[in-house]
Symmetry: none
Amino acid sequence: MSTYQHTFAPMSPNNSLSVRDQIIQTASRLFLTQGYNQTGINQIIEEAGIAKASLYYHFSSKEDLCVEYLRNRAKIWREGLENYLTNITDPRERIIGTFDYRKKFMEESRFNGCSYIRIVSEIPQEDNKVHQQAVAIKEMHRAFFQENAEQIEGITAEEKTDLANTLLLLFDGGSIECMIYKNSEPLIDAKKAVIAALKSLRSF
Amino acid sequence: MSTYQHTFAPMSPNNSLSVRDQIIQTASRLFLTQGYNQTGINQIIEEAGIAKASLYYHFSSKEDLCVEYLRNRAKIWREGLENYLTNITDPRERIIGTFDYRKKFMEESRFNGCSYIRIVSEIPQEDNKVHQQAVAIKEMHRAFFQENAEQIEGITAEEKTDLANTLLLLFDGGSIECMIYKNSEPLIDAKKAVIAALKSLRSF
Amino acid sequence: MSTYQHTFAPMSPNNSLSVRDQIIQTASRLFLTQGYNQTGINQIIEEAGIAKASLYYHFSSKEDLCVEYLRNRAKIWREGLENYLTNITDPRERIIGTFDYRKKFMEESRFNGCSYIRIVSEIPQEDNKVHQQAVAIKEMHRAFFQENAEQIEGITAEEKTDLANTLLLLFDGGSIECMIYKNSEPLIDAKKAVIAALKSLRSF
Amino acid sequence: MSTYQHTFAPMSPNNSLSVRDQIIQTASRLFLTQGYNQTGINQIIEEAGIAKASLYYHFSSKEDLCVEYLRNRAKIWREGLENYLTNITDPRERIIGTFDYRKKFMEESRFNGCSYIRIVSEIPQEDNKVHQQAVAIKEMHRAFFQENAEQIEGITAEEKTDLANTLLLLFDGGSIECMIYKNSEPLIDAKKAVIAALKSLRSF
DNA sequence: TATGAATGAGCATTCATTCAT
DNA sequence: AATGAATGAATGCTCATTCAT
């Protein structure tokens, strides 16, 4: 269970949140709906209802705040996914469930999710710490698919790796297209493709 | 054949280019390597070697310049792809060739391609003309895959549509991951997945 | 009769006008409705439908154009007034008629008249040629009232000068207040005050 | 007593003033001597000796600064006038004194006073908040004359209103002409006309 | 006469950040 | 832990003007 309210929850300031969490929550909402570079520090502090110097007390720079935002989004995803897959043990079912949950996740963020892909688009420089954090999150996703692919029985190691790669491509492609079209059709398509890919594995 | 030099050609100003083309070329290079929002008008005019008012003579705003940049990138892609697929008539081969050419295209842009996905990440607002132009380009890609899927014989209409959707997902996923990892492995994986998807079609 | 169309006549370009007149007419409309400094050369040429260099062929600078605009406005006023006062010979009646015509003139310019007062407000520097032209127009008005006051019989020279001064004050005050309130009440008030002033002259 | 130094006091930065007051004082001097549109933000901050962002910390826009400038000028006028008329109770004397003080006020501002008339000349659009503030100041002047006219005994209500209107016309006319001629003669003439008008009231 | 293209200087405004309290 | 005030540098954009054709 996340320690943060959902990012798209009501905007009225939640006084039960610590200042730090209030900042992250406000920044998350704005980064997702407007983009990182189009969101200024001023708007964040205004909507969070805090002083500018307070933000800089908790985060040493806008970049640092962005890194925390990415970590938080990843945490929300990871915890939500684990929760969603509880009681599902079959690796095929877990993989398919992941695409179901991705659809739900994107819908809840009004199709502005995909924080890591979007931040890489905004900050393409590899030596930037924000960029690096985004790559780390991508690695987390890759590891997840790899782990589940490993547990599928009756296929070769190469087939497992190929499957993981395909899943990741469909996952990213579906996420991106949701953002472009502002609807969840692409993740329905992705789920179909995943099922087809899984079927073709055992079809001989 | 494009009227523009390749975007990543030598940086020294090419005096044979018209001012307008010089601006688009410089802006393209900078938007791709640094992102749209992180590239200022000042840097564009400085590196293009022109006056600020000259830029605004040719483009009424930074947004308008961005729309032209997107159109130009799409044109380069389309013309390059048509050229690459000349003499290939089999739709399966044309589809696979598209992923080969995508790999080449991404390598030539130093893995900063994907102008439309990136701009949608930077400008998520649907009412923005830059966003709309990016969506229009995405539609062009979708149409291309749909057309080629249509020409595959011996499969149902539904299978054709599903195939087109899957191809688009792999295309976008592969393009995005190339940008994240700064290498072309993901497009090799995508090609593999495409071949597998095509094979599974005729396996009945 | 003026050689120029009325400034607030239909905006569609009148092809029977020379380019020079077309520029003055467009500039007049814009200077009056928007102010001199808030009207750019670009808007003038756009709405006049001519090229920028054409404007600079006919007028050596924006300031020069402004001087011509002031001269033209003064000409329109003078000719219109002369026409209005035709057949009126009594100096008292001519003076009163001037305030009637001023009201008409202000109404026709939608209460944006007063070109000379407004330009002096915008360009307060005495060494500026635009400022000087405006002062010259003011002198013309002063001379007009002085001339008519001279022709009133039975009052001393000093009374004549005082009357002229008072008339000028009421004329300027009325014109300015029309612009502020965007209605012609102040010129009705001014006419009343003029009549009272004229009456008090012969009342003993 | 005003909290601000007189606008035309020595230009050297007065460190005893708050940053906000320093900005208003500098802006006032420049708006009066050069006009609003001919005074740039850069000149204001340079002569005020502050950073650009500091100006925007205290005033949200140049327009907002202008509104404050108008309010401040009105305050200086009002307070100065009240002070000047202390101990004068006869409404006729108060009215005449107002024209004496107006002369003094214009001389002290080197004949660049009249902030509200000038701003209306520069910004003729009624929906502009600067314009509206200027109109509000004009209303203050009208109210002042109306109040004093009310207190004159032995004349009808209509005569009181007519008097107030005439006074306002002479006040504005005199102020404007001072600015045009850069001397205070017109306000001497206005005072003469005021005395004549007052005299003609009791001449029955 | 008339114009399309180019320009240097300036515009108002916003940026992320810092400092004294 | 929190803040009001200040800042240098940069933002996107417009200004009146000029020049080669």
